[in-house]
Every structure is written in structure tokens, then in C-alpha cells.
């Protein structure tokens, strides 16, 4: 079986059973992009998201090498918990990063992150023009003005739930217009 076909639990088993650099590399390849997305959502900064991915994967590898993950099939939950703790620590200005990098830095391999999809700008402008007035206003107020649902609801004179419905409809229509599935 190819290493890329191993389940998370099997990967955890190989890493815990001794030095298995291919398994560690596969763990990093598999998890780093996911952790980076978590970082983008919570830290809103690409560099900070890269740093988070590196720190979380270092912490995870440290735990797996020491066989500290009791339920290997729950690797994703363990990584998520590590993400949360690391973000908290980052916000507290924790110095763990330096210590971990000193300990394991040489073992961390640079992973190729999935590229962000490229948008056809002109097509998106046409798709936005094709939305209904309220839908266009909601998406622009949401993504450009960065207004909250409550602010948008006040502007439109509708409920927040209604704003959410309008936003969902608009996103589905934009994705359909851009040629991707909902």
C-alpha cells in the first residue's frame, strides 16, 4: 500500500512505532494545508497561517513520536485541539515556537500548499451585475464594507436571518455563474 493511501490512524501507528520519516512527511503533506486554512480563518494573515501550520505540525509530531495520542483514529480532533491551543498561545505571545523550532526545525519539510483558485475578474464583475440589487448590496456590504449581519440587516430593514438567506442565495448564484457547483 502506498503511504498516501494510509488512513490517519495507520500513519499515527507508523510514526509512533519508531522513526518513520516517510510517514511523518505524509502527515505533514496531508495536514499542513488544513491547518493553514484554520490559520487563515482565525489569524487573517498568510504568514501567521504558515507559522501556525508549522507550529501545530511540530507539536503533533512531537506527540506522535512520544506515542501520546491514545486514539489514533482521532488524529483530526487532536490536530484541531492543537490548532486552538496554538492560536491561544500565539495571541498570548508564547515563546513555544522558538523552543520547538530549535528542537525539531531541521525535520520540518517545506510543503507545497494548494494554490488559491484563480478567478476571472471580468466574469465575476458580470456575475455581480446579474445579481438582484439586494443580493449585490449584501455581498458587497459583507465582503467589502466588512459589515456585520446586524449592520446589513439594519441598512436593509430586514432581519439578520433574512440577510443570511439573501447572502446564501447570492453566493450560490455567483458560484453557478462562475461555473462551480454550489
Amino acid at each position: 500500500m502506498l503511504i498516501v493511501d494510509l488512513s490517519d490512524a495507520e500513519l499515527v501507528g507508523r510514526i509512533g512505532s519508531g522513526s518513520n520519516r516517510d510517514a511523518e512527511a505524509e502527515l505533514y503533506r496531508r495536514m499542513a494545508p488544513r491547518v493553514r486554512l484554520y490559520g487563515l480563518r482565525h489569524l487573517r494573515n498568510e504568514q501567521a497561517a504558515d507559522d501556525l501550520a508549522q507550529q501545530v505540525l511540530l507539536t503533533t509530531l512531537e506527540a506522535l513520536r512520544a506515542d501520546r495520542l491514545r486514539e489514533p483514529e482521532k488524529l483530526a480532533s487532536f490536530v484541531l485541539g492543537t490548532c486552538r491551543m496554538t492560536v491561544l498561545n500565539l495571541r498570548r505571545g508564547d515563546q513555544r515556537k522558538e523552543r520547538l523550532l530549535a528542537q525539531f526545525g531541521a525535520d520540518i519539510r517545506t510543503s507545497v500548499q494548494p494554490a488559491m483558485p484563480r478567478l476571472d475578474h471580468e466574469k465575476l464583475a458580470r456575475c455581480l451585475t446579474n445579481l438582484k440589487e439586494r443580493e449585490r448590496s449584501v455581498v458587497v456590504m459583507t465582503f467589502y464594507d466588512e459589515q456585520t449581519g446586524a449592520d446589513v440587516a439594519r441598512f436593509l430593514g430586514v432581519s439578520q436571518a433574512n440577510v443570511r438567506v439573501i447572502r446564501h442565495r447570492a453566493i450560490h448564484q455567483l458560484r453557478k455563474c462562475m461555473g462551480v457547483a454550489a
Binding site: 490517519d8 495536514m31 494545508p33 488544513r34 491547518v35 486554512l37 484554520y38 487563515l40 480563518r41 483530526a76 480532533s77 490536530v79 484541531l80 490548532c83 507545497v112 494548494p114 494554490a115 488559491m116 483558485p117 484563480r118 478567478l119 476571472d120 475578474h121 465575476l124 464583475a125 455581480l128 451585475t129 438582484k132 440589487e133 439586494r134 449585490r136 448590496s137 455581498v139 458587497v140 456590504m141 459583507t142 465582503f143 467589502y144 464594507d145 466588512e146 459589515q147 449581519g149 449592520d151 439594519r154 441598512f155 436593509l156 430593514g157 443570511r164 447572502r167 446564501h168 453566493i171 450560490h172 455567483l174 458560484r175 462562475m178 461555473g179 462551480v180 454550489a182
Partner: protein, 198 residues
């Protein structure tokens, strides 16, 4: 949307709707819902790919809004955001029934018309655009307005105006009452003089 240099993600058996992923990206999900989405994303590359599409869409919307080419109703927060980003906003506020001389320069980024009107009691408001003879050319139906507001702020496509010759056009705000009768709220004449060469 196109993606380069990466493998196709596996198909997810229970994919998260893109609109829910947008809610996640906007941090509007409740605690338990957010937790469920994050658990899923930490184990699913298919939904991670969809989240990247949503992020790209959000960035794309921001870029289109920034270039001032959309003809649309905007909020004061939109103008504040544009000013904060250093965009140059050219704004005209003709009185109802009046006219204004206007132009755009090469340095202008956004073109805004502030149309004063009494919007109280209006169930639906349309913004119509007419040629200089007053013949309607097109309309933005059911525009978002707040019944307590005293004006409608609309963005004209600066891309179009920068390319247009000197011209006169008329904007009309019309309201519909409960019996769907159309009522004129205000008429605004824009005398656009082209000052850009070419």
C-alpha cells in the same frame, strides 16, 4: 475558477455547502456549528478546496467593488471603507427636481450620486435611468433602502463614465405603494462634461 499545480481533492461524502463555508469564513457560525465545520475541514480536503474557492470569491468581490465599475446602491460604510483604502471618491448630491454639473478626472476612483428623497412609507423603491429626453433606458428594481433614510446613495460605473462623451442623463426614484401604484419620489439631472482627453 481554475486551480493550478495541485491534485484534485477527493470527493466528500457529506460536503459542506459553500454558503455555510462562507458563514464560517465570516465568523458568523454559532459555537457548535463552527466546531463541526472545523472538525470536518481538518479531515476533508474536498471541503477545504471549496473553502479556498469561497475565500477567492470573497477576495474577488472586494477587488471588483474597489474598482468602482458596479452600478449599485451603496452604504456610507462603503464610502468610509473606500476612503480608508485611499480611494478617491467623487460625489454629487443634486436636490430632488434639480440638476448638477459633474465630471470625472483620471484620478477619481469612485463616482457617487447622493439622491435626496423622502422614503418614508415606501414598500418598494426603483431607481430608473433616463436619457436626456426623459425616456427610461433601464432601472434598478427594488433597491435596498431604509425607510428612515433621507437619501439614496448610488454608485455609477466610473469605468463607463470615464469612457463616455459629454452627456446628460436623468435619474428617477420611484416608489410603489401597497396597490402597486408608481409614485415619483424625485428626479435628478446629471450634466456630465467629459474632461478626460481622448
Amino acid at each position: 475558477m481554475s486551480r493550478e499545480n495541485d491534485r484534485q481533492p477527493p470527493v466528500c461524502a457529506s460536503p459542506i455547502d459553500a454558503a455555510v463555508l462562507a458563514d464560517y469564513w465570516l465568523a458568523t457560525l454559532e459555537g457548535a456549528d463552527e466546531e463541526a465545520v472545523e472538525e470536518h475541514l481538518l479531515a476533508c480536503d474536498g471541503c477545504g478546496a471549496r473553502l479556498r474557492e469561497v475565500i477567492a470569491l470573497a477576495d474577488g468581490i472586494r477587488n471588483v467593488a474597489r474598482e468602482g465599475s458596479l452600478r449599485m446602491i451603496v452604504s456610507d460604510e462603503f464610502l468610509k471603507q473606500a476612503a480608508d483604502e485611499g480611494l478617491r471618491v467623487c460625489q454629487y448630491a443634486p436636490p430632488a427636481g434639480g440638476s448638477v454639473e459633474c465630471t470625472v478626472t483620471a484620478d477619481d476612483d469612485l463616482l457617487i450620486g447622493r439622491l435626496a428623497a423622502d422614503l418614508s412609507g415606501a414598500k418598494r423603491v426603483d431607481l430608473c435611468f433616463c436619457d436626456e429626453a426623459g425616456v427610461e433606458q433601464f432601472r434598478l428594481p427594488d433597491i435596498p433602502v431604509h425607510s428612515g433614510a433621507s437619501s439614496v446613495v448610488y454608485q455609477e460605473s466610473i469605468t463607463l463614465l470615464k469612457a463616455a462623451p459629454s452627456t446628460k442623463f436623468i435619474a428617477r426614484l420611484v416608489a410603489f405603494d401597497e396597490s402597486s401604484r408608481e409614485r415619483l419620489l424625485g428626479e435628478y439631472t446629471f450634466n456630465h462634461t467629459r474632461t478626460l482627453p481622448g
